[in-house]
């Protein structure tokens, strides 16, 4: 009714009046969150990409994020575009944490390119290390069943609803059980980095699949 409209209008006027001094500061803050990456030579030295490749990567990165940094929401949006049928936000959250090595809440170009360097040009050891880091949500050096279950659910969420066979509630849990049976050698309920790397190196499938993305760039 008309009364409700008046209420909201008066609220808005009040809020604007109160927050006016703060909002200017907020705007200043936002505008200063711009990031310029280190020079091309330094990045070339730190990563395994050539100059040309870094140029291509940066152009794409800067196009999508003109301010030079990606915050978590934008990251989730970008990643969700690749998986139209499911919900990629949980997995994107874990991925964001894995890439954001200095944990400052935003992904700069250096973080982005360092991560890619490991994934695309690193040794198998480094890749497995990265994967372990991804699964270890609280970064304590151990993968527990709960952490693995979270990751697994996030991966299954990306599939969405319309799958064949139909996704059941206990599918992620079963998958985690299989994973732990394979990885947890001493059956102590957690997987350490050594167990993980040992097990993966002995698995032919995993070793082969580590190499399929080598020609991505």
């Amino acid at each position: 009714m008309d009364g409700k409209r008046l209420d909201t209008i008066s609220e808005r006027v009040d809020a604007a009046a109160v927050s006016a001094p703060d909002s200017i500061e907020d705007e200043l803050e936002l505008s200063t969150v711009r990031h310029r990456p280190e020079g091309l030579e330094q990045l070339e030295a730190q990563t395994r990409f050539s100059r040309k490749e870094l140029q291509i990567l940066y152009r794409g990165f800067k196009n999508e994020c003109p301010s030079g940094v990606v915050n978590e929401d934008t990251f989730k949006e970008i990643y969700a575009q690749f998986f139209p049928q499911g919900d990629a936000s949980t997995y994107a959250h874990f991925l964001f944490n894995a890439f954001d090595t200095d944990h400052n809440g935003s992904l700069s170009f250096e973080d982005f390119v360092m991560g890619l360097s490991i994934l695309l040009r690193g040794t198998v050891q480094e890749k497995l290390n990265w994967a372990f880091n991804l699964y270890d949500i609280n970064k304590d050096g151990y993968i527990t069943k709960e952490e693995m279950l979270d990751i697994m659910k996030a991966i299954y969420d990306m599939m969405g609803k319309c799958t064949y066979p139909v996704l059941k509630e206990e599918t992620p849990r079963q998958h985690v059980e299989v994973f732990f049976q394979k990885m947890d050698k001493n059956k102590d309920g957690v997987v350490t980095i050594d167990e993980f790397i040992d097990c993966c190196q002995n698995d032919e499938n995993i070793m082969r699949s580590m190499h399929i993305f080598e020609n991505v760039l």
Binding site: I56, F82, K161, F213
Partner: protein
């Protein structure tokens, strides 16, 4: 795909390494990037103005002119550039679309020129960003209306082959079409005026006669006025009946406002005829005569402005309602206050709160008749506050109403905004279809992918030419990514229709007639873990791995021309037939699908029919014992 995905696809694919240790099945091979050429600058010469961009920028949208091989038609060999003989100003926005992923509509451009450019470059207008979409749609609508107006002016010429009904209807709606219509228009207008004037003059005191005192003319010249009334009502009745006869949709005509006004205008007369001059009902009879004044509304057929006024009032209903509501609030408050303030004074006219309403209304609207006046000091104070606030309360909503009226009077746009909301829905639907197109494209490409893999692994050079390459490299990489996710989770993407069918089939497991086929479905799993070395095209991607039943098209059987039932069932109706027919027997038959057949079938299938695509590799066949056959 949008710009973002193109730039971030390598990142997403690299991040897929996170799935590898978790996956239980081997991953599919990545698509080969055969075009190893480096990223190069492309020169686009549009009527002399040169634009340059990277090739990959243009490749982001492979279904447009610039993103596909269609631009090769415009390649200029000597200058090593692409030449387009089009408007360079509009081309700016089009190229910016490739760069930023958002299409903007420049306000100074003519809408039809812009549309033409979009069509030329193969870009659908629905992609226009939210910032510019409303403007674009408004302009497009105006343009359309202008075109329609022009057409209507041309349509006024008499068309041949119109029935009497249609001619009459056109004459009624558009008096300028023929002289007869104009005559009719003026005659009815004249009689409406006569009728209204008669009603008015009827009540004027006519002067004293020897027999009676001053009486209104209506009672003195009863017969004359009665004749006038009869004549007018007869004209109106004839007019109404003619309109009813000529109306293309009688039901809609009877429901329209103008016809209701017509009926209300002539009804009192007939009711008066029917009723006798009974004393009991004469009171009601008098009330009915009031309704005769509604005849004046018949003028709205003759005046466009009147119709717009009525229309505006209807659309300003919320503002009017707000005005009324605030006034009512203020009236109640002030009436209460005045009543209690004046309670003490003697011989006060403020006998009750409702009685004070009259004072409050008269004061707030600054009329001030003076028939009710406060006497106490407190009453006078509150009275003055009342009159001041009255000015404010009325002055606030009125400009809103006035501005609304002027806006609508000049534009007539409110109804179109409502139509625009429907367009908004269609726009969202199209964007959704485009988005789901990417999901469907993945499902469709899975079939192509299987054949491609087979040909790549086993085929010779000539076979490689036969690869079905209707997806760009970007798309094939995206599909590979989705394929990896499928392998990681050991589940497949299916489209909605198939998913619902699967749920349905799983629910129907209780039906005994279906048990053989369903058990075969239940047992099939996606066989991928370790045992597959070569991608087997025989393993279909659809939900039915083994063929559950054999359906022979009824046309192959001996169909008697006198057969009553419709025997032509398509393959997709198979499941529904099962639900109904008790006469269905099923057989488990396994047929290999030869790869030579599959591409032919897929070539025929449009990607917009995912149901047929997903079962293209599977022959879903049923044996049906037909009653007709038995009866024969």
């Amino acid at each position: 795909m949008a710009t973002g995905t193109a730039a971030w696809l390598p990142f997403a694919r690299a991040a897929a390494i996170g799935w590898m240790p978790v996956a239980s099945c081997p991953m599919p091979l990545a698509p080969r990037d055969n075009s190893k050429k480096k990223d190069e600058l492309i020169m686009l010469n549009v009527s002399g103005r040169r634009f340059q961009t990277w090739r990959t920028t243009l490749d982001r949208y492979p279904d447009t002119l610039l993103g596909s091989s269609e631009k090769d038609f415009f390649y200029n060999e000597e200058a090593k550039e692409y030449f387009f003989d089009r408007d360079p100003d509009v081309f700016r926005s089009i190229l910016n679309f490739y760069r930023t992923g958002k299409l903007h509509y420049p306000r100074q451009e003519c809408i039809s020129a812009y549309d033409e450019e979009l069509t030329f470059f193969g870009i659908i207008p629905e992609i226009i960003g939210d910032c510019c979409y409303e403007e674009y749609k408004d302009r497009k609508r105006e343009n359309l209306e202008r075109l329609q107006d022009d057409q209507e002016d041309n349509k006024d010429m008499k068309l041949p082959n119109m029935t009497i009904r249609e001619t009459m209807w056109r004459a009624f709606e558009n008096p300028h079409t023929s002289t007869m219509a104009l005559v009719f228009y003026y005659v009815t207008g004249f009689f409406i005026a006569i009728s209204v004037i008669t009603n008015v003059v009827e009540t004027v005191p006519c002067g004293a006669t020897p027999h009676h005192k001053n009486m209104p003319c209506g009672e003195r010249y009863t017969v004359a006025f009665f004749c006038m009334d009869t004549a007018c009502v007869m004209i109106f009745t004839v007019e109404y009946l003619l309109r009813l006869f000529a109306a293309p949709s009688r039901y809609r005509f009877m429901r329209s406002v103008m016809s209701i006004i017509d009926v209300v205008a002539i009804l009192p007369y007939y009711i008066g005829l029917v009723m006798s001059n009974n004393e009991d009902v004469s009171g009601a009879f008098v009330t009915l005569r009031v309704f005769r004044v509604f005849r004046i509304f018949k003028f709205s057929r003759h005046s466009q402005g009147l119709r717009i006024l009525g229309y505006t009032l209807k659309s300003c209903a919320s503002e009017l309602g707000f005005l009324l509501f605030s006034l009512t609030m203020a009236i109640i408050i002030f009436a209460t206050v005045m009543f209690y303030a004046e309670k003490g004074s003697s011989s006060s006219k403020f006998t009750s709160i409702p009685a004070s309403f009259w004072y409050t209304i008269v004061t707030m609207t600054t009329l001030g008749y003076g028939d009710m006046v406060p006497k106490t000091i407190a009453g006078k104070i509150f009275g003055s506050i009342c009159s001041l606030s009255g000015v404010l309360v009325i002055a606030l909503p009125v400009p809103v109403i006035v501005s609304n009226f002027s806006r609508i009077y000049h534009q007539n746009q409110r109804a179109d905004k409502r139509r625009a909301q429907k367009v908004q829905k269609t726009r969202q639907a199209r964007i959704r279809i485009a988005k789901s197109g990417s999901a469907n494209a993945f499902l469709a490409s899975k079939h192509h992918g299987l054949l491609n893999e087979l040909l790549e692994l086993t085929g010779t050079e000539e076979d490689e030419q036969k690869l079905i390459r209707n997806t760009s490299l970007l798309e094939s990489q995206h599909h590979h990514l989705l394929h990896c996710l499928e392998k990681t989770t050991a589940h497949e993407f299916v489209d909605e229709h198939m998913f619902e069918q699967n749920c349905l089939e799983e629910a129907l497991q209780s039906y005994p007639s279906r048990s053989p086929s369903v058990s075969s479905q239940g047992s099939c799993t996606i066989c991928c873990c370790g045992s597959r070395r070569h991608p087997d095209p025989r393993v279909p991607r659809g939900p039915l791995q083994e063929l559950s039943a054999l359906h022979i098209q009824s046309s192959q059987l001996a169909v008697h021309p006198s057969s009553r039932s419709n025997l032509n069932l398509r393959a997709e109706d198979g499941s529904r037939v099962n639900c109904k027919g008790g006469q269905v027997t099923t057989a488990i038959i396994s047929l290999p699908s030869p790869p030579s057949l599959a591409p032919h079938r897929e070539g025929r299938h449009h990607p917009h029919h995912p149901t047929t695509t997903t079962i293209s590799n599977v022959f879903r066949v049923k044996v049906q014992l037909l009653e007709k056959m038995l009866l024969k």
